[in-house]
Symmetry: C2
Subunit: 152 residues, 2 copies
């Protein structure tokens, strides 16, 4: 293998900045959700289910949209079942499939916690960027998302 | 609590784009590192130790720079010890302290894997952004990093 093109100082700074902002942000939002007995992973599942028809999604689809393995999602859903937030249901029309279904308690939880979470997202991220910066972020990252999705 | 200011469609798009690019990117880079029997978490520890004097860091400092709890880092280091990449050593000048120290095998591993990893970082991120976009990223996110560090 030939010598790689190492990152320039400017590239390295950008890369490390990207990593740092994300890590600090997730750490902070996760901690704020803990005050409501949720993790950021729980929250993401609740949002996805709450926005789906019948407040349910196939486990395979949920693993796909939350970008995690089936086995990791399965553990996550088991923990959320124990907290009464979701239940598993077999698909009637597909013997191999299982749904994750939001319970009434899960629905009430997302309704109650979402206002707090959105305040955190604003305080720590969205309100600290101008409209132009938000648009630039979408322009810069959307092609990268398209590229990475093709590789999955 | 008053009604929160929900995210506008543009804000929501930016926020979800930020989350998606990071998740897909980490997923991809982690997967590429698996070909070298490392995780992205392993890699981050190896980089930090390899750049430190004596190729060692106090566990408390390592937890701090990698933004994770002491207990989570401790599990991580135990897994890496089992792979022969690091060892723990007591600090001579501080009975309460423990160092994580890179082994020769850990050093050789990071030297061997870094060229592959930097190719991935370029292919999936850095080379897909212009110099201006990289600079804009640093300008936009540095104040957020400063803000979040103050809250820790």
């Amino acid at each position: 293998m030939s010598e790689p093109r190492w990152l320039s100082p400017a590239e390295q700074r950008a890369w490390r900045t990207h990593l740092a902002v994300h890590k600090l942000l997730m750490h902070r939002l996760d901690r704020e959700l803990h005050a409501h007995s949720l993790s950021l992973n729980d929250y993401e599942i609740l949002v996805n289910l709450s926005e789906s028809p019948g407040r349910r999604m196939r486990m395979s689809e949920l693993a796909d949209v939350t970008i995690q393995s089936r086995s990791r999602l399965s553990h996550q859903i088991s923990r959320m079942e124990a907290k009464g937030l979701v239940v598993r249901e077999d698909c009637r029309d597909d013997r191999r499939g299982t749904y994750a279904v939001l319970t009434d308690e899960g629905w009430e939880t997302i309704q109650r916690v979402a206002p707090h979470h959105v305040r955190g997202v604003r305080e720590h991220f969205v309100d600290r960027l101008t409209d132009d910066q938000l648009d630039a972020l979408v322009s810069a990252y959307t092609p990268i998302i398209e590229h990475l999705k093709k590789l999955r």
